[in-house]
Assembly symmetry: C2
Homo-oligomer: 195 residues x 2
């Protein structure tokens, strides 16, 4: 295959991310969102909320991470955060997926995407802390604005969600008061279990 | 509203782009794609195909344009390219949408997004020529890989699609042989009308 053909193969393969369903619903509750549109949402959040990042961030780099961070789900699927069994072999499944999917690209482009994904997973740079904060904040916002649709009937505790939001406290401290307000409302409305 | 509240309002409003259906189908033919996931696909195409752009491009800038170029469809809808009636007032509908949607943001962020959209529409910079080329190439690729599903039964002529692909010839000349090959295959298979 030519270099260009390899690139087209990769770009057609990633169309599959549009079929990976997440637990989060759209704000209008019409359906669950998928990982491709979720990644788009994060990329625009990165543009809009960069000024609130805990540390100075390269927005372009954070955007690239947001766009690529879920590609491994094409093979590994989206693992629900409160699914204890699914989370046991999540890392292994995602690693196999990264090897297969990124290697469709020419070598140096594969390495670049792999590095972005590794960076997102390691959460050890300002951009990855920012991108991880966005990745936690977006479903919280959607759950809130959809009337708790992603939480209700699941017996989820407020403290579980609070713990899950820790990257927001670290990466987007200016948004933390909003997180607390949302959790207060969600508990008061009975969408989350208060303890 | 505080600045942060304005930003959150905007970020919740744009969730609606996930519900704007396009004519293009997913590669697996399972459903039509929406404008949010289409925008995500373009943003990743920008990363991967930048080396083939006709002129040197700022990839980060082209990526931002790809992410924002369809936001006006939240109000204006996606107008099918071969819909003569819908295209009559498309510009006016999209302009009203731009004013409403971008102005949810703090002033200077609204101006930045508006400038990106204006630039995409004017097609007068290297980045906008590149982004417009991607915007035409992606549905062609999806139609091709889905076995012509977006074309069949619509009585579309090969020359119509060829004309529609002109931005690819200008912005991504290295991809032009692939465009011609796809149109040859589509015509031979009867997905497009040959003349």
């Amino acid at each position: 295959m030519t270099r260009c053909e390899q690139q087209i193969e990769f770009l057609m393969e990633i169309d599959k991310l549009k079929s990976v369903e997440r637990q989060t619903l759209l704000v209008d509750c019409s359906r669950r969102e998928n990982s491709a549109e979720h990644s788009w949402h994060l990329a625009l959040m990165a543009q809009v909320l960069a000024e609130h990042a805990a540390e100075p961030v390269d927005v372009s780099h954070a955007t690239q991470m947001a766009l690529a961070h879920d590609l491994v789900e094409i093979d590994a699927g989206d693992t629900y955060v409160y699914d204890a069994v699914g989370n046991q072999d999540k890392a292994e499944r995602e690693l196999r997926a990264a090897v297969r999917i990124f290697s469709l690209l020419p070598t140096e482009q594969a390495a670049k995407l792999r590095a972005l994904w590794d960076e997102f997973e390691a959460v050890a740079t300002p951009e990855s802390r920012f991108a991880n904060a966005l990745d936690r904040l977006q479903p919280l916002l959607n759950n809130w604005r959809s009337g708790g649709a992603g939480w209700r009937g699941r017996n989820i505790r407020r403290t579980q969600v609070l713990q899950r939001m820790e990257p927001v406290r670290l990466g987007l401290p200016a948004l933390w008061p909003l997180v607390i307000r949302i959790l207060d409302e969600a508990a008061a409305a009975g969408w989350l279990r208060e303890e």
